[in-house]
Amino acid sequence: MLMTLPEMWDFLSLYLQYSFVQRAMIVTVLVALCSALLGVTLVLRRFSFIGDGLSHVAFGAMAVAAVLNLASELPLVLAVTVICAVLLLRTGQNAKIMGDAAMAMVSVGALAIGYLLMNIFSSSTNLAGDVCTTLFGSTSILTLTEWEVWLCVGLAVAVTLLFVLFYHQIFAVTFDENFAAATGVRTGMVNLLLAVVTAVVIVLAMNLVGSLLISALVIFPAVSAMRVYRSFRAVTLCAAVLSVVCAFLGLILSILFGTPVGSTIVAVDLAAFGLFSLAGRIRRA
């Protein structure tokens, strides 16, 4: 289906009048902002895969919630994910067990148990479709209720505020945890805060892109920004703006061409990464 530009515009403005599209827009922008802010420190601390691991945990928790027939699955999913995040991130730089192995074990373990539970207990007639939706997001972003949008707005504002307040502490702990601890920064508290916030953002982002693609939202903006900028502040700001722009663009494209929201956003992130790599190379040359 090919459209001319004016046709596209008409099509879009028609869609933008629907409240479910507006809600999706708001949530998309907020989730993209939060995940990019966190992404910078997660990538630099070599925790790129935490998003993957935690989202699989959230997937497992969702399956349990479904089996238990809970009215609202979010509280349980949030609680379980936060606990796992604290356990995984607590050790920081001084980990005794290899962080990546622990992460992989938790990640695939939760995925397997979740799918197993859904298979055994689910009463749904379209199990494959349900699983696919949870893993890839697909349409769930368009079916958000008003309550969920408000919750998302509240959490996103809280995350952003915490990030701004603790910005310097987060920098210090990311750059050199031992120095920060030795000179009196409360690194334990900062690590705990990062773990909790990471879990919250992951659970929020699951609605948007699904379990399997969350890592993209966390990693791509940060890595793209690092190609071009050389100070922590510039990288953080650039990642936040880039992430919001890419997510917004991805959502518009997915409406225009009827593609899945999550994978379209990730594709735009990927394209932006290509552009930023090129820009970085030109700048250095």
Binding site: L44, R45, R46, Q93, V164, L165, F166, Y167, H168, Q169, F171, A172, F175, D176, N178, F179, A180, A181, A182, T183, G184, V185, M226, Y229, R230, S231, F232, R233, A234, V235
Partner: protein
């Protein structure tokens, strides 16, 4: 005046690496900690800094040497080598340990302290450069400036010349010596470099068999001191 007193320390993570270690550091000392790989040098430093608890024994910090008053020059990690941060950001982060309460921005006092530390290390012109693009010697000066932001009276350095070329090594020793003599900063340095220890140290802590703690002159009289100074017969 004793700034740091360690009595009968037992060090290690789970199993003890070192037992019965006692020494003290006085204001204005220049203490070198020597020893083979695995002798427990870095573990000792982490224990003194309070990053890991001692398995036994007591560490007493003197007046005004609470957390936030010891400057620390750690070994560089691999992650730092490609970390996007400006020199100013790294140096200013040294002020955080003294801060009480939460603020999103650095105060004028903190900025002034960081500027002063950069001036002292001669890196003011590099303030807006990217840390990862500097030479090894310049990076150490940045980390030293950061340590100065945290420290008033004592600097702990963990093998600071590792990976530096001879000129940068010489320069770093010179800077440390100047901080010690001119500014009266107490320096505790872990080192693999016996020549530097014999040249700069006022005191030496040798973690070997037997453990030695005392003045540099006293160390020269011990067996290990003879070997380190090249006067004794090196075991082959």
């Amino acid at each position: 005046m004793a700034q740091l007193v360690c009595e009968e320390l037992t060090l290690g993570y789970d199993r003890p690496i070192l037992t019965g270690l006692s020494f003290e550091v006085n204001a204005g000392d220049y203490l070198f900690i020597l020893g083979e790989n695995g002798a427990g040098k870095s573990t000792l430093m982490k224990t003194v800094l309070g990053l890991i608890p001692p398995l036994a024994g007591k560490i007493t910090r003197g007046e005004g040497l609470s957390a936030g008053k010891i400057g620390y020059l750690p070994q560089q990690t691999r992650a730092q080598r490609d970390f996007p941060a400006s020199v100013r950001e790294v140096v200013q982060s040294g002020c955080l340990g003294r801060r009480r309460g939460l603020r999103a921005f650095y105060s004028a006092g903190e900025k002034a302290r960081a500027a002063q530390a950069m001036e002292r290390m001669g890196i003011t012109p590099l303030a807006d450069r990217c840390y990862r693009e500097l030479s090894g010697g310049q990076q150490q000066r940045v980390l030293l400036a950061r340590a100065l932001c945290a420290a008033d009276s004592m600097l702990l350095c963990d093998e600071p010349v590792t990976g530096l070329d001879p000129a940068a090594t010489e320069e770093l020793y010179h800077v440390m010596d100047e901080l010690n003599r001119r500014d009266g900063m107490t320096v505790v340095m872990i080192s693999h470099d016996p020549a530097a220890a014999l040249r700069y140290a006022s005191h030496i802590l040798y973690l070997g068999e037997p453990v030695y703690y005392g003045t540099r002159e006293g160390f020269l009289a011990t067996g290990a001191g003879q070997i380190y100074s090249g006067r004794g017969n090196r075991p082959c």
